[in-house]
Symmetry: C2
DNA sequence: TTGTACGCGTTATCAC
DNA sequence: GTGATAACGCGTACAA
């Protein structure tokens, strides 16, 4: 304290009224000179507000976060948060300990003011726990058993539009290869695909990988080829390692067994250079991240009941991997 | 307080001595029942320790963080931190405001106990500022003007070994395309490449993109082709968008101008599927992240002077994009 | 072994 | 407009 009391300093720093312009200026000058910054822990303790938001990305032990989806999401959330004076704390719990870690180190210890949570691996009990607590949170991806705030893409639309895209190009035996049905979005995508196929009385060729790891995906692909007709198109339900495993196995197949078309969920610039270019469903990940961040920031300041639900449309990025099939008489 | 005083509770929670086994158990039971957790802000204020570490990734405005490098780094750091009871705060300042944001919201406000900092865009002044403060930090990538704790890969080794790999396969006109020289690692890689080429009296074909964005990379590539001999191999100094821009431009070239070989810094599984597979320098990013996290955790508990410097070797992931040149008489 | 009192650095509430 | 004073919730000496 160069001249005044701490109460006054506090007012000066926070632009609070009840202080003379001249006094404020003098205080701010001194603060500037001595490079003083308020201690954030003390501030948090006093304000009951940390100015942190948490991003929780639960993931399987083997699954890596290095596909095109998470990095973009993380950076867009970080930026949106930063623009509003919030910092981002990142949590990547393994599936097994997800609950414990979340509950212990987050919910009741007030490390963050709000949470953005990847909902894929959450079960009902965990959501209950969260809702009982007073910490606001928003889900990344709608949860089947919870009616909570969320942002998501329109999974049904995405799968349907890609399926119909393939149908319009003459494909009839379209195989959908998804991750585990325990991930809700996989179920939604499957349903939409199924409906599109059944509407045209076409065979539903779906296999589900038990896990996202390489052996499971390989087994799933084997199942397609060991039962049922040879598919003329393969729709890969996820990018990253999931896709790469499929591509790897596919090129071990004899020429005659190769599907004529292939497409994938999750766009990425590298797909431009894979074969003739890989047609993909593009999720607006950046917008999703921004919306999630905006959502949680809003919830922090308005803990009212109104439900936030933002659903984004996807687009198809057309490349060369799904040529129009030559026998056009097949077409509808 | 169900029975005792708070002092006693504190001891029970922190496994401090000076308390009876029976009392401790009783307290812990009650704590468990009522789901009590210590408030982390209060704890931090009292302990002068937040149990947070910060990861600062400065980046250009246009540059995305979605290459193979950052995601892996972030998740490995997060995990290592979590295993030691620390949480990760992520900062991705744009170049322009880097200093301000760092200084204001981090260094003197005690939001984190330590910092891991991507050194690429740091200037001397910022490092001075950091060193004056009492917050421990470790650099991700050695800084040319600072002799501070760091973890890094052996950039010289990496560039040299890849250059020699190409030479051994018969390439003679090897063009190195790097990002801006203001990034120290680009200079180190260039020097090693240059040395390898000059040792054999071969022409140094190096161009530098002013920025990492697409127009700059395109201009750089043009410069290679407009001056000097047509390269027989192109060594791309970075993956992600940098690489993709190069690939994009390259395939617009007539067949006769195509380089026979191409390779790249930064490995990624998608490279398996680009053309015949793209040979790449693999950085042990996971290990790097772990080491950085371990390093900063060590520094937090031992603010001694001993300098931490960990340098990791890279490996070459050989794929099909650099075939041995047919005119073997070229070889050494 | 247990309880008490104080300090951490800030904001908020009041008298002045 | 300004300055004491009491919280905020926790550790931790030190006294009981």
């Amino acid at each position: 304290m160069a001249d005044v009391s701490k109460g006054t300093v506090s007012k000066a720093l926070n632009n609070k009224p009840g202080i003379g312009d001249e006094t404020r200026q003098r205080i701010l000058n001194i603060v500037e000179e001595m490079g003083y910054r308020p201690d954030s822990s003390a501030k948090a303790l006093s304000n009951r507000k940390t100015s942190n938001i948490g991003l929780i990305i639960p993931h399987e032990a083997g699954q890596s976060l290095d596909n095109a989806y998470w990095p973009v999401l993380v950076s867009s959330i970080t930026e949106e948060a930063a623009e509003n004076g919030y910092n981002l704390m990142l949590f990547t719990p393994r599936r097994e300990g997800a609950l414990d870690e979340m509950y212990d180190s987050l919910i009741s210890s007030n490390k963050t003011d709000g949470l953005i949570i990847g909902s894929e691996l959450l079960d009902r009990k965990q959501i209950d726990l969260l809702e009982e607590s007073d910490i606001p949170f928003i889900l990344l991806g709608k949860h089947p058993e919870a009616d909570h705030h969320f942002v998501d893409i329109d999974n049904a639309f995405a799968a349907r539009s890609m399926t119909e895209y393939l149908l319009n190009r003459g494909y009839r035996k379209i195989a959908l290869l998804t991750g585990p049905g325990s991930y809700y979005y996989n179920r939604m995508r499957l349903d939409a695909y199924k409906e599109a196929m059944e509407n045209r009385n076409l065979p539903v060729l779906h296999v589900e990988a038990d896990e996202y790891d390489s052996p499971s995906v390989t087994r799933a692909l084997d199942r397609i080829y060991s039962s049922g007709p040879r598919p003329d198109a393969i729709f890969a339900g996820a990018g990253g390692d999931f896709l790469y495993t499929i591509l790897e196995k596919l090129r071990e197949l004899p020429e005659a067994e190769q599907p004529e078309g292939i497409c994938v969920f999750d766009d990425d610039r590298s797909l431009d250079f894979i074969g003739p270019g890989l047609t993909a469903v593009r999720q607006p990940v950046q917008e999703l991240g921004r919306a999630a961040a905006k959502g949680i920031l809003y919830l922090i300041e308005n803990p009212e009941l109104k439900q936030i639900r933002r659903i984004f449309k996807t687009t198809i990025i057309e490349r060369g991997s799904c040529p129009v099939l030559p026998n056009k008489d097949n077409q509808i």
